[in-house]
Subunit: 148 residues, 2 copies
Amino acid sequence: MSGPRKLKHRFEGYASRLTAPREAILEFLSKSSKHMSAKEIYASLHGSYPGIGLSTVYRTLDLLARMGIVTKLAIGDGQSRYEFKSKEKDEHHHHLICTNCGKIINYSEFLDEELGLVKKTEERLAKKYNFIIQDHNIEFLGICEKCK
Amino acid sequence: MSGPRKLKHRFEGYASRLTAPREAILEFLSKSSKHMSAKEIYASLHGSYPGIGLSTVYRTLDLLARMGIVTKLAIGDGQSRYEFKSKEKDEHHHHLICTNCGKIINYSEFLDEELGLVKKTEERLAKKYNFIIQDHNIEFLGICEKCK
DNA sequence: TATTAAATGGGAATGATTATCAATGTCAAT
DNA sequence: ATTGACATTGATAATCATTCCCATTTAATA
Ligand SMILES: [Mn+2]
Ligand SMILES: [Mn+2]
Ligand SMILES: [Zn+2]
Ligand SMILES: [Zn+2]
């Protein structure tokens, strides 16, 4: 069973169908390790799916984000970026972001300690603020190699 | 010497002046503990500074962010939010964000362990990726008390 | 005070995202 | 296979935050 198809059943609970455009977007995102804007995704798709509409790209990204299949991230320049969110724990990662050029580096080293502490903090915060914690973001901001 | 005035000298290095509109914005932000959009700041200022322009608010927020006096944050809804960034280490905080209503909670409990680990991770990442790390963000996403 | 550059406010322009809508596609019951 | 009930799509228009532009005002300095 190939990549995106595995996710078919996850669409059912959302009264949603795994249609051709959605599958194309999912297929594309699941292969990219970048953090791409809607317009970039739209442009990249023109080869494999000419005729797809930009609206559909936005709608699908929103749906996938609500489903927890992709992560939407805002680094503060004008546009949102999206990345496939793997279920494998070993692909969990955090970010290093260059405030000069916008470059985003995924890092997954040093996460063991980090995640242990995160889990503990999560529990404490959940109790204290009566909050259901579903996810976390950790990012380091600074100047990348090229921009130094 | 009152609040924002203490910052006057910091403007010099930026070839910038601490003008009346800038002082009004700074004064306002330094008193608020919220995370406000440009439009909200603009609206709030109409009492103390009628006639200020929205462009000036945007320009000033951008300047203050570049100077490191305010933090710009993007929670993913359409607009950026800003908050005064105190120099006191004891006011450093992280965020708990409700993905349903957008509520942002500052938390500064449990930071000692967190910051220790952050510092260590920072050093490792800086070396490995040849990156100058200047700041970090940690946020937990989930559902707030009201939205449960 | 005269000179000069920085800053301002208002309005127009830009650009990302959403809303609208007529046309299609899907699915299940007939 | 046909139909009816919806879900989805793509094109386009509308929205809305942010940036640009520029004539006018303000601050700094001599
Ligand atoms: Mn990433
Ligand atoms: Mn805060
Ligand atoms: Zn860079
Ligand atoms: Zn909430």
